[in-house]
């Protein structure tokens, strides 16, 4: 039932204190005065509590179980981070308070930036971008500003591997670039020959993630960096997969010029049903002047904000980014420290490889051999044999109380699962996942229709998203 159906004319859920001020007449032209109130729900407090409590039970979350969504790094979100973010000294401050009254916030952001620079091997960083894709756009705009600042106006292209996240080409396009899709080599990595073919003086940036979306480390990364730089292009690092290399190597050390991070992946801020995230962008020294406005400046005795950056790409959103997400990431880094972060990387990679070996006994691994923090497997054979698709297996996993891996991505593998266990899962959980997967494969061979009809044990059964888009219903129909 929707909250609108619970609503009852005249019921209230809220009471306001008196401010002891008389009613002023509203001096607006009649036609600007609202005639009928918006049809918001009219409910009591208990109605609201029950509605949202019951909705919450219809969600799968990291707090209820394994969530091996490849590329999304669904690790455990520590509760102490939530507590810190709720301090009123962080949540109840206005962005335009005098700097003297927000030294704690400014110092936190400054220190976080410094820590993230150390972790990425970059020289400077902005915390403003609100999400990974926002960071990518910021990075592309910085690249654009950089080339233009050198009078280099011919660089209109960005090279993106065909295995890249969809946000990469979209972000490049939003920054006004044309996108060249780079075909992956047979080993799932960048094909240097292919790269050489497309890499010329019109290329502004090469966007990579390393390890890539197949969970494979680009072994030739130093060579790629050299090639890019020789041609005058910048090398961009999509930080979605940073978890894998924590404590071992850094984008800056590999030759990347720009990097974005996803604080809601690597640094364990919760995903919030899709956001808010935070996508800081780090750069090498030569690009620092292009970072967006404002910048946090540390002077001898205090922290301030600098809005006067003539070569900056400018504002990319209001205020300073998603501050309370930063607070959580800061808490996480302080908690983990250099030793803990190293352990994160190691155990994330260990988990992925262990699960890869387990899964390889059930379905094919797209690119066998040691992987990093995730791997891609395919059920193409099963599909040919039984008609059961990756989608069906995904839905059947839901019946067993496990969230499905990322499906049908990257696009270069078919009927695939992209599986990222993260470091916070135990061996027991991975074993259980493999057991269930095997059970489902057996079910699929014995009774494919069973799997095609899944899920059965979920709050709703398989939903029709085709007609949902064909005849879209965007909002509740009050006339129902």
């Amino acid at each position: 039932m929707t909250i609108f159906e619970i609503s009852k004319e005249g019921r209230i859920g809220f009471q306001l204190p008196d401010n002891n001020i008389k009613d002023f007449e509203i001096n607006l032209p009649e036609h600007l005065l609202r005639k009928s109130l918006p049809r918001l729900p009219q409910v009591s407090e208990v109605d609201v509590v029950r509605h949202y409590t019951n909705l919450s039970t219809k969600n799968y979350s990291v707090d209820v179980g394994f969530y091996p969504l490849g590329s999304c790094t669904m690790k455990y979100n520590p509760k102490v981070n939530e507590k810190v973010a709720s301090f009123e000294e962080f949540s109840m401050i206005h962005p335009f308070q005098p700097h003297e009254t927000v030294q704690g916030a400014l110092k936190l952001m400054y220190d976080l930036k410094e820590m993230l620079c150390e972790i990425t091997g970059m020289d400077d960083m902005t915390l403003i971008p609100s999400a990974g894709a926002h960071g990518e756009l910021t990075g592309m705009l910085i690249s654009r500003a950089y080339h233009l600042s050198r009078g280099d106006t011919k660089r209109t292209k960005v090279i993106v591997p065909d295995s890249a996240h969809g946000t990469n080409p979209a972000s490049a396009r939003m920054a006004g670039f044309d996108v060249i899709e780079l075909k992956s080599g047979p080993d799932g990595r960048v094909d240097l020959n292919e790269l050489e073919k497309v890499l010329d003086e019109t290329v502004a940036v090469i966007m990579l993630t390393n390890p890539n979306t197949l969970g494979l480390f680009e072994k030739d990364i130093l060579k790629i960096a050299q090639m890019a730089h020789e041609k005058g292009a910048l090398l961009y690092y999509d930080g979605a997969n940073l978890n894998a290399i924590l404590g071992r190597t850094r984008p800056g050390d590999m030759g990347f010029d720009i990097v974005h991070l996803n604080l809601h992946k690597t640094f364990s801020t919760p995903h919030g049903m899709g956001g808010p995230g935070s996508g800081p962008v780090g750069v090498k020294k030569h690009l620092a002047k292009f970072l967006p406005i404002p910048e946090i400046v540390k002077t001898e005795d205090k922290y301030t904000l600098n809005y006067n950056k003539p070569e900056s790409i400018g504002f990319i959103r209001s205020y300073f980014g998603n501050f309370s997400v930063m607070v959580r990431a800061y808490t996480y880094i302080k908690t983990m420290g250099k030793d803990g972060l190293k352990r994160v990387g190691e155990m994330a990679v260990l988990n992925a490889n262990y699960l890869r070996v387990k899964v390889s006994k059930i379905m094919d691994i797209a690119y066998p051999g040691i992987c990093m923090h995730e791997f891609v497997s395919t059920c193409e054979k099963l599909t040919k044999e039984t008609g059961v698709k990756a989608l069906d297996i995904a839905k059947r996993l839901l019946d067993y109380g496990i969230h499905a891996p990322t499906m049908y991505f990257p696009l270069i593998v078919h009927e695939d699962f992209m599986i990222e266990p993260t470091e916070t899962e135990s061996k027991d959980t991975l074993d259980k996942f493999a057991q269930i997967l095997e059970k489902i494969f057996n079910e699929a061979r014995e009774n494919p229709e069973l799997i095609k009809g899944a899920p059965y044990n979920t709050p709703v059964r398989r939903l029709d998203d085709v007609s949902a888009s064909r005849k879209p219903v965007f909002k509740y129909n009050f006339e129902e």
């Binding site: 969600n59 071992r248 040691i370 990322t406």
Partner: protein
């Protein structure tokens, strides 16, 4: 051993054996080891971390909400406790994008209801399930306008929030979209003559604030009347105001966007808030962002799914309407809970009390001989000449526990000694009288 990482030494050994390698080191054969360790501290227990950050947090000064007279896009409002309690439910907080709809009905239904509420407020057909903030929502609205009519000039009222405008410029420039600002009149509303004179064949959209950055309510009807048919009419609005202002949809707006922080979200030092984005059904395929739609399951039971995903980056890649992927869904949930609790009458009362408080403050300032900069109708913010050295006075007030009207000079250099005052329902007569003692 770490409390967030469950592996025991025994298990690590078993796992390495299963993988067929001898050590963790073997997992990294492809990876150059470029660092021995980060130049960071070692990890700490939660109590040491809490203590350290608590002490850091004390370097921030929290003003009593009733003594805050600063707005400019981020507002202090009463937030019922249930908003916090319910939105902190970890089944919402630790879920991700509802890729598996069957186990994400909580997320999906909540967002569908949020969309409905935003449509109700704005009078539009469709809302997406959120953008990052008001600034990026406006920037994306401009890009969308260009997708709608393939023209490349945007006329934006100069009275739009300066950070919204600056962000839009950052987004538009690389795509060769030009933003030209339109003057304002003495009343603080858009200069219709200037607007008329700037509209040409290449004009893609016109952007006005409702209310605008100065708190002034634009006459959406008058503006619409001078717009050519194919110009996209973009309104930047404030959701609380929309409970007393006629819905922009009634005046022919094509896109209504804005910052939704005022609907139950704490100020958070400016973020996260939420960008809301609404439009007409006919434009929906040009719209950025995630949309939730109603559908049925195989048993005919009602359910919700993400719809029209072919607009989005993960399918459309370089041809997507936007690159947005993560959005501000959790904030949309807070908005929806807030609107559920407060209801239509409550929202109007919030608006009415804000209006009264702001006009009381303005009246008293005028009585004291201060001049309001504009004579147009305003909602809960207004600009006035605060006198010489206002910036110093403002800092003095801060020391005394009052976050006074914001000095405008930094954001808008032409407004020397001007201040942007804001009241909401949290400001009482007593707190306003206390503020007035400084004037």
């Amino acid at each position: 051993m770490h409390r967030y990482i469950p592996h025991t030494e025994e298990e690590i050994k078993e796992m390495l054996k299963e993988i067929g390698i001898n050590s963790i080191e073997d997992l990294y054969m492809d990876v150059p080891k470029t660092i021995e360790e980060y130049n960071l501290e070692n990890g700490k227990d939660e109590f040491s971390v809490l203590k350290e950050i608590k002490s850091l947090s004390k370097l921030n000064k929290v003003f009593e909400p009733e003594k805050v007279f600063a707005g400019a896009g981020i507002y202090f409002h009463y937030i019922p406790t249930v908003v916090e309690t319910l939105s902190n439910n970890q089944n919402f907080v630790t879920a991700y994008t509802p890729y598996q709809a069957e186990v994400s009905q909580g997320t999906l239904q909540a967002l569908f209801e949020y969309q409905t509420m935003m449509c109700e407020l704005t009078g539009m057909d469709v809302a997406n399930s959120s953008m990052y903030d008001g600034a990026t929502a406006l920037a994306e609205a401009m890009l969308m306008a260009v997708r709608i009519n393939n023209k490349t000039k945007i006329l934006a009222a100069g009275s739009i929030n300066p950070e919204f405008l600056a962000t839009s410029k950052t987004y538009c420039t690389p795509q060769n979209i030009e933003i030209e600002t339109v003057k304002w009149t003495e009343s603080g509303t858009i200069d219709l003559e200037d607007l008329k004179s700037k509209i040409d064949d290449n004009t893609s959209a016109v952007v006005v604030g409702y209310p605008n950055f100065f708190g002034i309510v634009e006459d959406l009807k008058q503006i619409k009347e001078i717009l050519p048919d194919n110009v996209v009419y973009i309104v930047v609005s404030e959701p609380i105001a929309l409970s007393i202002l006629e819905a922009p949809g009634k005046f022919g707006a094509d896109i209504v966007v804005g910052e939704g922080q005022s609907l139950g979200i704490t100020p958070n030092y400016g973020g996260p808030g939420i960008g809301f984005f609404t439009t007409l059904a006919k434009h929906v395929r040009k719209m950025p962002g995630r949309i939730i739609g109603e559908t049925k399951d195989v048993d005919g039971k009602k359910g919700y799914v993400m719809i029209l995903q072919t607009r989005e980056q993960h399918i459309r890649r370089a041809k997507a309407t936007s690159n947005i992927c993560s959005n501000h869904a959790l904030m949309a949930l807070k908005n929806a809970i807030y609107m559920s609790v407060i209801g239509p009458e409550g929202l109007r009362k919030v608006a009415r009390m804000s209006y009264n408080a702001t006009h009381y403050l303005a009246e008293k300032l005028v009585e004291k001989g201060y001049n309001l900069t504009f004579n147009g109708p305003f909602f809960n913010e207004f600009v006035f000449n605060a006198g010489e050295n206002y910036y110093e006075k403002w800092k003095t007030m801060a020391n005394e526990g009052i976050l006074g009207p914001l000095p405008l000079e930094k954001a808008m250099p032409n407004f020397k000694n001007s201040a942007l005052a804001c009241c909401t329902e949290v400001n009482t007569k007593e707190s306003i009288d206390e503020l007035l003692k400084h004037f």
